[in-house]
């Protein structure tokens, strides 16, 4: 006599996005805090010193926010025109800004008035930064020059005029105080050396360069511009390593996470993409409007993003709290010891072992299926769904009942309450492609069984009406999808050269549901 085989619950793969460690890591942020600035947020820079305040440059101000503050703790407002590129020095004590009128101002973080003012650029200074010795400031301007300034004397040390268009990107080397990289709208990225006074490397990005970024090792360089993100190998003399095209609008900013050096890029298409070490997109943040600037705090604690509509969005990392209070409040069940009592006893060598057949415990719905009580089994399965909110077991029971040819019996003779429970279940899961087949079947049978008595119950009628609406919407959607597929097919057919074998698997399209009878 064979034993009863319990219902097999299919382990179906979750569709859509795959959950990897990266997604878990990047998803582990609190919902964003939004702050309104006076104009488009052009630049965000984190102070290297804890508590890692950050400077936000927007319109004619530079605000400094604390890591958790909603209000600026400090602001520099003495600009006559738009300020650009508020950047901290390596010790976090000085801040340099460019401005529309062509002046470069140097601030003490704790003070208000500019310590130094470097004038010499004839047009707006879009990018400024400190060289890594902290004694010199480098700036790039719309007058197509890059200049290096001496902080103690306030004198201009050198001017580089190799670019032929606006200089809009700048990255000083952290390892060598004489090196910095600039990107310009003339589609080139150049590396300059203060000692030689000219560019060492020139890389053709192919689009106006919006942002350049050096990896901490400084062997790799990232440049963004147009829709492209390009990685250059500096040790190989500026050879292009990869070219990424994951955004569909201009990529405006890039930064590196401090954990594992993951590359993040933000774009006007409202997305921030996170790449892994092999430059595959592993995560995607979605924002309301086009992104202009982005910065990430050490240890990835905070992600601050500035947008064109002047909104500064700040996400903080979630930390696991040890919620002891919760566990202590709950009544503790029997301890683990009780359950394993005697189970882990190891017989000695000369013990005579009498093996007892392992008793198989069946789930409640299996017990009911075993005694052919299909209606009750369906009820139990629906209860499981209500408890765990997981449809797998319930669907498995429905499939099993259908296999036994008694699904109609199980669904028949129900009152309003239990029927609406089933209908709710159907409504919730009918569009999950894993479960839509049995759900459509259940819906069909319900409509068949109860079509005479449906008007008697307004609640069931409402549910069925909703079911009909969503199904109608879904079929329309499928129609449109099919149309798009058809368009794409013709496009592909006209684009690709004639090949013998089309090894292309069209994505499976759910058949429109036939439940129009209601």
């Amino acid at each position: 006599m064979a034993s009863f085989k319990p219902t097999k619950v299919q382990v179906l793969p979750k569709l859509g996005e795959k959950v990897t460690e990266d997604t878990l890591y990047w998803r582990n942020y609190k919902s964003p805090v939004q702050m309104k600035e006076f104009g488009a947020v052009k630049k965000i820079d984190f102070s290297p010193l804890p508590p890692h305040n950050y400077a936000v440059t927007a319109s004619t101000r530079v605000h400094i926010y604390g890591p958790h503050s909603q209000e600026p703790i400090q602001s520099f407002t003495r600009f006559r025109d738009t300020a650009y590129c508020g950047t901290f020095r390596g010790d976090g004590k000085l801040l340099v800004t460019g401005s529309e009128e062509g002046l470069i101002r140097l601030f003490d973080v704790s003070g208000r008035v500019a310590l130094r003012q470097f004038s010499g650029h004839s047009k707006a200074v879009r990018v400024t930064s400190f060289l890594s010795d902290g004694l010199r400031v480098v700036s790039g301007s719309d007058d197509m020059t890059c200049r290096v300034w001496d902080i103690p004397s306030g004198a201009e040390l050198k001017t580089f005029t190799e670019h032929t268009d606006y200089v809009r990107a700048l990255a000083p080397s952290k390892l060598n105080p004489d090196l910095f990289v600039t990107g310009s709208y003339d589609h080139t990225v150049k590396m300059f050396d203060m000692r030689s006074g000219s560019s060492l490397l020139t890389m053709q990005h192919g689009y106006p360069v919006e942002c350049v970024l050096l990896y901490p090792s400084e062997a790799l360089l990232v440049s963004t511009g147009g829709r492209y993100v390009k990685i250059w190998d500096l040790l190989k003399g500026g050879q292009e390593l990869v070219s990424l095209k994951n955004h569909h609008k201009t990529v405006t900013c890039a930064c590196l996470s401090t954990v594992d050096n993951k590359l993040l890029t933000g774009s006007l298409d409202r997305h921030i993409k996170v790449y892994n070490s092999s430059y595959k997109v592993v995560h995607d943040f979605d924002y309301d409007t086009s992104i202009l600037s982005m910065a990430i705090a050490p240890h990835d604690e905070v992600i601050a993003v500035g947008m064109t509509n002047g909104v500064l969005s700040v996400r903080h990392r979630k930390h696991k709290k040890v919620n002891e209070t919760l566990t202590s409040r709950r009544r503790r069940g029997p301890s683990y010891r009780v359950f394993v009592k005697g189970k882990n006893f190891v017989p000695r060598q000369d013990d005579f072992l009498v093996s007892k057949p392992v008793k198989e415990y069946l789930q409640k719905h299996d017990k009911q299926l075993k005694s052919f009580e299909v209606s009750k089994a369906l009820d139990t399965a629906l209860q499981i769904w209500g408890r765990t909110n997981k449809p797998e077991v319930t669907v498995a029971v429905i499939m099993e009942i259908n296999r036994r040819g008694t699904l109609k019996n199980a669904l028949a003779g129900r009152d309003e309450q239990s029927l609406s429970k089933i209908l709710n279940f159907v409504l919730k899961h009918i569009f999950d492609p894993r479960f839509s087949q049995p759900m459509i079947m259940v819906g069909d049978i319900i409509v068949d069984l109860y079509k005479e008595v449906i008007p008697q119950s307004p609640s069931v009628e409402r549910l069925l009406q909703r079911l009909m609406d969503v199904l109608g919407g879904e079929t329309e959607l499928q129609h449109e999808l099919l149309q798009v597929l058809g368009i794409l097919d013709t496009l592909f057919a006209s684009l690709t050269p004639r090949k013998e074998v089309a090894a292309l698997a069209a994505p499976p399209v759910d058949q429109g549901s036939q439940l129009q009878a209601a």
């Binding site: 006599m1 064979a2 034993s3 009863f4 085989k5 319990p6 219902t7 097999k8 299919q10 179906l12 795959k18 990897t20 299926l369 075993k370 099993e400 296999r403 036994r404 040819g405 087949q437 079947m441 013998e500 074998v501 089309a502 090894a503 698997a505 499976p508």
Partner: protein, 833 residues
């Protein structure tokens, strides 16, 4: 022509054992059942087949114990004879020639010398009606007797033998047909008939399906099509009969059986539940569910301790009276159709095909024994008529036997098709297949064919489906899932002009994959998944596709419904083609040979050929009259060395095939068959361990020694002792795993060698001598010293049994020899690996 007669078609094994109810011997140690054209005797305790009573030339249609001698059994057959056997020794005692095909037999104690047979109505043999005939068995000493005294008892009885039953020790006979129950009283010579309405208001279907009579009471139980059981009483009057109804079954009651005391009634049907009703207390019942296939027959032993149910999946289940299953005798399960191909498990060399619903069965062809079932579907099977459930439709092994791919399918008839592709890995520890991967939506339509790559290093599975695609599956190809790389995932999807693929095949070194798309063969390279070439066929959809092996690996064979074509893959040109309709093309994995079954003008011919030359090596016309769709080459146990050209193809492997009537046939050489027969006879002797002294020895030691460390020294490497006693023979012929420990056997073995020098004269043993020996044993035990170990004592006893006739002096001498220390010998044996 002389050569051709050498090789012939032989039916091999796997016959039905569930056609007729089985019969218990009076001591319920044996159960007998009709199996094809022989009667098989199984032990109820070990489930081993002890004898096969062979002699009939057609299907055995009934067996029953001889009421006069409980060690004899009557068997009747469609060849028109009734035979009387001694089933303990397996000897044919007598043959009664009836002259007409016999369909059932029954006997009773009250009618001595008479057997009741069911013959077809003489006038119109086509009709379903049978007649019951009483036959007086002539008493003569001859082996073959013609029984001429036939007298018809009643006519127009149902062709279902379970609709006829002798009642109350033979006072009356009850037989039912359609809606009528007739009872014929032998003494009164009168028939009473009772009829029922065909249907009633509630929609019951009242047709009779089976009849059983109470052994002591005046009561007849009848089973009906709607699952009701009626108990009829007072049926010896025309008018005042009564009946009561029992209802549990929801489908037709297939069989009914009263226990010998008449305290219980057993019933069974398609639900595969054995129901035991308490006689008298009508609604008290016990159920034993999930026995296997539908219950066809129930038999009870004469002491009422054991029941035996026959199931539709060719199985006998032995059940104790407390409703515990104590034994299962399983034959080769043959459903209506073999959906999977015939396959050979590369490890066990067992024949694999789908058996019980949702299972694959492994069947040893050599021993004609069912090995085990592999549960593929792993779902509760509901025994209900007309229910569409999962069936295993495809299965393939890879070349090493470490992977098995199966496809199970449901809802082929209705529109909503469900199917799963499953991959099973062989587990060395449990010695069976373990589920590795389940692929729920492998294709969008049903899978037509699949094959594993034939290389040893990497395994790859290719499936073709009706959705116009073929897919290649690899182990752990999906890099994104960073789990164990043991799981299978899709590697490549290919299609060709949206045509429906029909078949796929890997070349011998798996460097090429051929996929046929209706009329076109495409050749792919599995490394790069590049299509190398297409071969366009003469018109006709391609059925079979196979690459040549070994020296012919450059050839690709394909069949359509009209042609057999051979392509040369080096030149990509058609090498040769012939116009035959080939229903099955089967390559031999061990040689270049390919077997082709062709169906022409209502019979099937076999051609065996090498792809390199179109001339067949061997032809066999008229193999059978049906189409052959399933065939398989089974590797020979040891290669034969025929140098004869026409029989050379049988050297490495043997060809088995399955006809549409589900007969498993094979090609065999005459000499080969003799060898098989002799080996089977030897096996039979080995199995009858019941009465040998060795068995006694084993039985005594069983309680003492649970953990037998099986000694291997009785292996065949020892030369036979020329003057070996029966014990030595027994010892050497018994498989090592049933022997007790070496320490037990050692002294006995040595002793028996010694004795054989002094007294070899006795070979034969009778039961009387055994009795004597037991007395001697007692004497010797008195003489034994207390220090002797228990084990030695027992060993001694058995030795004495073997050589009972010894003089006292000889015995003394022997004992002296025995007491000498033989422990050095034991040490020697232990040291042996």
């Amino acid at each position: 022509m002389v050569e051709k007669s050498d090789i012939r078609v032989v039916r091999c094994g796997g016959s039905k054992i569930n056609l007729r109810p089985s019969v218990f011997s009076t001591d319920s140690r044996f159960v007998l059942c009709a199996s094809g054209d022989s009667v098989k005797v199984y032990s109820t305790r070990t489930e081993e087949c002890l004898h096969s009573l062979q002699g009939h030339t057609n299907q055995v249609t009934g067996i029953t114990l001889n009421p006069a001698n409980h060690l004899q059994v009557y068997s009747c057959s469609a060849d028109g004879t009734v035979k009387l056997w001694d089933f303990i020794d397996g000897i044919l005692i007598k043959t009664f020639i009836i002259g007409y095909p016999v369909f059932a037999i029954c006997v009773s104690e009250k009618h001595e010398g008479i057997i009741f047979l069911q013959l077809s109505m003489a006038t119109n043999s086509k009709s379903e009606c049978l007649q019951l005939v009483a036959v007086h068995l002539p008493k003569s000493a001859e082996q073959e007797v013609e029984a001429k005294e036939l007298s018809a008892v009643c006519s127009h009885i149902s062709s279902n033998p379970s609709c006829t039953a002798l009642g109350r020790g033979g006072e009356f006979i009850a037989f039912a047909r359609h809606l009528q129950l007739n009872v014929y009283f032998f003494r009164k010579q009168k028939t009473y008939s009772f009829s029922l309405q065909a249907t009633d208001k509630k929609g019951a279907k009242n047709a009779f399906t089976c009849v059983a009579c109470h052994p002591t009471d005046d009561c007849i139980a009848t089973g009906h099509e709607d699952g009701k059981i009626r108990l009829w009483r007072n049926f010896n009057q025309k008018k005042e009969y009564t009946y009561s109804t029992l209802h549990w079954h929801h489908n037709a009651v297939n069989t009914l059986c009263f226990t010998p005391e008449g305290t219980h009634l057993l019933s069974g049907g398609i639900e595969s539940v054995l129901v035991q009703w308490k006689y008298g207390a009508d609604n008290k019942k016990e159920l034993l569910p999930r026995l296997g296939g539908a219950i066809l027959h129930i038999a009870a032993s004469s002491d009422g301790q054991l029941f035996c149910t026959s199931h539709s999946d060719n199985k006998l289940t032995v059940i104790e009276s407390n409703f515990k299953v104590c034994g299962v005798i399983q034959g080769l399960v043959k459903g209506d159709d073999v959906l999977t191909d015939l396959m050979i498990d590369p490890r066990s060399k067992a024949l694999v095909l789908n058996g019980r619903p949702g299972h694959l069965q492994f069947y040893s062809l050599l021993r004609d024994k069912h090995l085990y079932n592999l549960d593929i579907v792993q779902q509760e099977y509901i025994y209900e008529a007309g229910l569409d459930q999962f069936e295993v439709v495809k299965a393939v092994f890879d070349i090493k036997g470490s992977w098995l791919a199966t496809v199970e399918e449901r809802g082929r008839k209705s529109s909503d098709l469900e199917f799963f592709l499953k991959l099973w890995a062989y587990d060395e520890k449990t010695q069976s297949f373990v589920l590795n991967t389940t692929i729920t939506a492998a294709h969008t339509d049903r899978i037509i064919s699949m094959c594993f790559s034939s290389s040893e290093e990497t395994t790859m599975l290719v499936t073709t489906a009706e959705d116009g695609q073929f897919k290649a599956w690899c182990q752990g190809a999906d890099a994104d899932t960073q789990q164990d790389q043991n799981f299978w995932s899709c590697d490549f999807v290919g299609s060709y002009h949206n045509l429906k693929p029909t078949n796929c095949s890997f070349s011998a070194d798996s460097s090429l994959l051929a996929v046929s798309f209706q009329e076109v063969i495409t050749i792919w390279s599995p490394e790069t998944w590049e299509m190398l070439t297409t071969l366009c066929q003469p018109p006709g959809e391609i059925r079979d596709l196979c690459f040549g092996r070994l020296s012919c690996s450059k050839y690709l064979l394909s069949t359509t419904n009209r042609n057999l074509c051979c392509w040369n893959l080096l030149t990509c040109a058609l090498e040769w083609s012939t116009s035959v309709e080939v229903s099955k093309l089967q390559p031999d994995p061990l040689s270049e040979n390919v077997a082709a079954f062709s169906y022409q003008s209502k019979h099937t011919d076999l051609f065996v050929f090498k792809p390199s030359e179109p001339r067949p090596l061997f032809t066999h016309k008229n193999v059978c009259s049906e189409k052959v769709h399933r065939a398989v080459f089974v590797p020979q146990e040891e290669p034969l060395n025929n140098c004869d050209e026409s029989s050379q193809w049988l050297n490495r492997s043997q060809l088995y095939f399955l006809t549409q009537n589900m007969d498993l046939l094979t090609f065999n050489q005459a000499t080969e068959e003799d060898r098989m027969l002799s080996s089977s006879k030897r096996l039979v002797i080995d199995d009858s361990v019941a009465v040998t002294p060795f068995y006694l020895l084993l039985g005594k030691h069983r309680q003492q020694q649970q953990n037998l460390n099986t000694p291997s020294y009785t292996g065949a490497d020892k030369p036979q002792q020329p003057q070996g006693s029966a014990t030595i023979k027994e010892l050497l012929h018994t498989p090592a795993h049933v022997l007790p420990a070496a320490s037990v056997l050692c002294s006995m073995f040595v002793n028996s060698l010694l004795i054989s020098k002094t007294g070899v004269r006795e070979e034969m043993e009778s039961s009387e001598q055994e009795m004597d020996s037991e007395k001697e044993e007692e004497e010797s035990e008195e003489e034994m010293e207390a220090c002797d170990s228990q084990q030695e004592l027992r060993a001694q006893g058995s030795v004495d049994e073997v050589t009972p006739k010894l003089s006292k002096a000889q015995e003394k001498e022997l004992k002296r020899v025995r007491k000498t220390d033989f422990s050095w010998m034991a040490g020697l044996i232990d040291s042996k690996p």
